[in-house]
Subunit: 649 residues, 2 copies
């Protein structure tokens, strides 16, 4: 019973912000103030931290504008406009092109469009593939790189309950951070921003979530789901388990090591829980059976219509064959890297960047096109610290894993490890490389391919030696798997449209989506779960666990308890359809006001990756009233409270 | 690592109290003060209530001894001694007796033992069947019938969260009541009582639970479990669903009606949840498969040992045949009553009592032996009110259900309903009967069989008319089902002992058991559940549901919140093995001090009826510290606080 009008939509779009390295956000004042999750800003906050000043542990509040601290390499985007470029991309494919050629031709056309548009508008331009290639859209973004940290709570308040409570509800987390966008050294003027609701939400309220969901797999075929279930997720989970063990051992060495490893451990725990949830949902025989029945019904109806059958062909069989190829090369493609090493990742991107820029724009690898170079360089030249000891254990762990997973005879392993011992090789690589220094990286990039080829930096040399192997595996992955899935997916999308007669949501692509839902509790495992929590619950959970980590209260919260109205709403849930990338999304009411901040989904929502079901799946948000009360009564951030309430000076 | 010595055991036994109509309790002061659950004392409290003074809603506190109110018909028992009488009971069976004769002979011997012992000791004496007839034990109880209400919280505090939170944890319920036993008009001296712990429990603590678990089914055969799964539980659940509908409609008529129906609705909701849990556990194919494998293994090992096989025979087949009989007569036996009518129940017991007392003691029906008459009369002559309008809907509902379940041609239905309409017949029965008056009931019992046969009271007449039908169904149930199960169970117990070489716990029989466990949280449905809650959580849950029933706070709690130390432990869980009848059991630490009060099990514990598993099954208790803080800070019950702390005057 609510009509979304164009003005409302434009306002929400222009108030929405994308965090380029994964996540969502929104403008919440006319002066460029941005609200996102603490866990979305975690990397940025950690990069501003040091051994002496751990902003992750202590939190941060800038009492004046002058105290706001510039992030080392954070890029924010605001969606300016979208244009359908399907006809142009598909028109670039020659009639007689085979699959690989068609893919190259589409890819070249996409590069041309991106390049032209970037030059024409000065905006960040991306062409996004929708419906597995059924449609192509040009997204133009305003891009901001002067982003400053304004407020962050202690990690303990932001991530109260830690990994055990992650993906659960009831929750008691203040997973928020405030940033500010600057332009030409001054706060950006943002007339389009979300007003901070004073009333908040109530059970039954209709709400909207504006954000950039990363990826979903709802249009996958059964063969694809089976591959994910039997190969892909188990492989990643095995890898994450190993990395977790390596990092935990490192973190146990001392407080500073723990601080350095914290972000990666956090992210690994999060992934293990999320991927475990996806895997569980795929291992549910009933869910898979429904998918299978749905697919069989679609195939049956296609077969029954001769014209449609001729147009669609048998993409299911082609995709199933591609899964065979995936089973063959998947492990090698996945392990054609030193997973977990920041230095190797930098080396590899420098090697590729210097090689790719010599090619015509439209023949380059994805990620290395002209329009993408500025973002890439922001990341490559970031002054964020690289810790040698952490790198050494990460590289040793990666080499050890490579040898175990692929065997020493594998060409990539042979090139990386030879007949050496992982620990010794890692020590040599890390001691010998100078890539921790951003100036060294800059010099290499500026020196171009010649500089890289002349370099005797051992990490650069390794990245150079293995690049051919990795490129060939990636090429096969693109041409023999992705391409087939993309083309097949397009045919299936067409069949689905012909049969079911109405449009289906495209899978998520880390672009702006507006989803909607209702604020609503649920029942799970016999437990009646309310739609919200209050500050009371934070103190309950801390007391119930005797303040043992991860249930200890940050000191400020313990000492300020008596100043708080304990029945202030803290977190809440709604039925909106979200997925990774929606983190930091504003929750918006009918009036377009900000009532909450998405930071998680419950464990039951993980299955939504493949089949959406809102009976018990819920998105979890911080309540706008809870954020305001915390800023005022716990953090004394009066300046920000005034700004959020529209009383800024 | 804890040795229970005889002195500790005797002290705990003599401090433990059985509530005769189902439940457990303990002495907690030297002056006869008894602690049990509010839901165990609910009937007694309701019988002291009236339209003008609803002690269920308001709670009750006697500021002085003189204010303590005598309950209408509550009987408490304290176990004095136990004696093994297996040889005497089994020795009474003639060598050539068939099953039915053996049963009668055992039954007669049990009646003789009970009668002799009651006369000899003046105590309440019961012979209890253990291991399905593998053993018989004589229990001698001290019996107390002058029991007074001392303190009860509001139902809303005792049963906070209502049915939705029943069988769950975390919980925030003050499910306690204090009673006092009097003898000769003065408080009973109870040198054996449990000291109230000042320290309480912590995670990992070893604790003991002393109480009277009602019944378990862990020695059941697969055929018995299948009967429960396919017939017994579904039948009861269907009946409860119907009664619930009838009572809800009545409760909706007004506040007083709601008050009158409350206890029955509470008890029905509780049963629906518990039986649903049992049924779910039986419907779990994996659990049933384990039971089946276990049984097959036992049968295989019996068959492999010729001597054992000869001694054991094939009790499994006999029990399976008995389930066939159960399937045949089960519905008629279950419905040979007007379920839910208090007046019919009174009439039936009067008809039977007056008939049975004319027989020799050892030939009477269970429940009507000399040793049991005093308890029976306490209940029959109770002055507790009977509400005519509630009775009318209950009788009409029961008649309606009878007609639907058995059909009008069934002899019982024909006798009860004829060709009348249920509502009309119910109106006549209730309007015509005078059994609501305890003096009328007393006169009938005193007049004996002649008075009953001469009575033209319509409810007495009905009870008289159908008694023959009911007795015959009950006889078949005893002789063709119970007897076979009992004898077969005994053989299986012997086989189990021979094969597994060590003793197995007997199934529960509403007699005193000491179980033990550890105070421990658990993980369920991805949720990390602490071992305890605190008062913070009560306020959280009320606030999270916006104080909507059943999550509203009692007024006293709202107004006294600021006086409470909110981090006081409130409820906690432990792994002790409990089951219905354990309600009100004290939780005792190594020192023999009272640290908690059992009031529930979590939903995962319901499957323990058939297979014990303590990975996630938990008993739920009120914390001794929470009870004391509530008495002091919410209820101002200083007199009781002093008495519980051993500072009484």
């Amino acid at each position: 019973g609510f009509e979304v009008d164009a003005g409302w939509m434009d306002h929400v779009r222009l108030s929405s912000v994308r965090v380029n390295d994964g996540g969502s956000a929104s403008f919440v004042s006319p002066d460029g103030l941005v609200l996102t999750n603490h866990h979305v800003a975690f990397n940025a906050i950690q990069k501003l931290s040091s051994e002496d000043e751990d902003l992750i542990a202590s939190g941060f509040y800038a009492p004046t504008l002058a105290d706001e601290r510039r992030c080392t390499d954070l890029e924010l985007n605001v969606l300016d406009s979208i244009e359908d470029v399907t006809a142009r991309v598909q028109g670039a494919v020659a009639d007689d092109a085979d699959e690989a050629a068609a893919r190259r031709q589409r890819s070249a056309e996409i590069a041309r469009i991106t390049q032209e548009e970037t030059e024409r508008t000065g905006l960040r331009c991306d062409v996004v593939t929708l419906y597995r290639g059924g449609a192509y859209a040009l997204y133009r973004y305003r891009k901001y790189t002067d982003v400053r940290l304004v407020f962050a709570p202690e990690a303990q308040a932001a991530f109260f309950g830690g990994d055990p409570d992650n993906f659960t509800f009831p929750r008691y987390a203040l997973d928020m951070t405030l940033l500010r966008v600057y332009e030409d050294g001054a706060p950006l003027s943002t007339p389009h921003h979300l007003r901070w609701s004073a009333d908040g939400v109530d059970a039954g309220d209709l709400v909207f979530v504006s954000g950039n969901p990363g990826s979903t797999g709802r249009l996958n075929t059964v063969a694809q789901l089976e591959y994910l279930r039997d190969h892909h997720y188990p492989r990643i989970l095995r890898h994450l388990g190993r990395r977790r063990a390596v990092l935990s051992a490192y973190a146990a060495l001392g407080a500073e090591q723990e601080r350095r490893a914290k972000r990666d451990l956090f992210s690994i725990d999060n992934s293990i829980k999320a991927l475990g949830g996806y895997l569980d949902s795929l291992r549910d025989p009933a869910a898979m059976e429904r998918k299978r029945a749905e697919e069989q019904e679609l195939r049956r109806r296609v077969a029954a219509d001769a014209e449609l059958a001729a147009a669609v062909g048998d993409p299911w069989a082609a995709i199933a064959r591609a899964q065979g190829t995936a089973a063959e090369i998947g492990a090698r493609a996945y392990y054609a890297s030193l997973r977990g090493s920041r230095l190797f990742d930098l080396a590899r991107r420098i090697v590729r960047l210097t090689a790719e820029v010599e090619k015509p724009n439209d023949e380059r690898l994805p990620g290395y096109r002209e329009s993408q170079l500025e973002s890439l360089k922001l990341s490559l030249f970031s002054p964020a610290p690289v810790y040698a000891d952490l790198e050494e254990v990460a590289v040793a762990g990666a080499l050890e894993e490579l040898a175990q997973e692929l065997g020493r005879d594998d060409p990539f392993v042979a090139a990386a490890l030879g007949d050496g011992q992982p620990a010794a090789v890692a020590a040599e690589l890390v001691a010998g490389t100078r890539l921790a220094d951003p100036d060294v990286r800059r010099a290499l990039v500026e020196g171009g391919r010649a500089a890289v080829e002349a370099s005797d930096d051992p990490m650069v040399r390794l990245a150079r030696d293995v690049d051919g192997i990795a490129r060939e595996l990636e090429r096969r992955d693109r041409d023999e798997i992705d391409s087939v899935e993309s083309k097949g997916g397009e045919a299936i999308a067409r069949a689905r449209f012909a049969v079911h007669g109405s449009s289906v949501y495209p899978d998520a692509t880390f672009t702006l989506r507006l989803s909607y839902g209702v604020v609503q509790g649920y029942e799970a495992a016999g437990w009646n779960i309310p739609f919200k929590t209050t500050f009371h619950g934070l103190f309950e959970r801390a007391a119930a666990f005797d303040h043992e980590p991860p249930y200890h209260l940050a000191d400020r919260w313990r000492s300020r308890a008596s100043d708080l109205a304990l029945d202030t709403p803290f977190d809440f849930v709604c039925t909106a359809d979200i997925i990774g990338g929606n983190s930091g999304s504003p929750v918006i009411d009918r009036r377009g006001e900000l009532v909450g901040l998405i930071f998680d989904g419950n464990i039951q929502s993980l299955g939504n990756r493949f089949v959406f079901d809102d009976s018990v799946a819920r998105a979890v948000a911080v309540d706008a009233r809870g954020m305001l009360a915390a800023l005022r009564d716990v953090y004394g951030a009066d300046r920000l409270v005034a700004e959020l309430q529209g009383r800024g000076d």
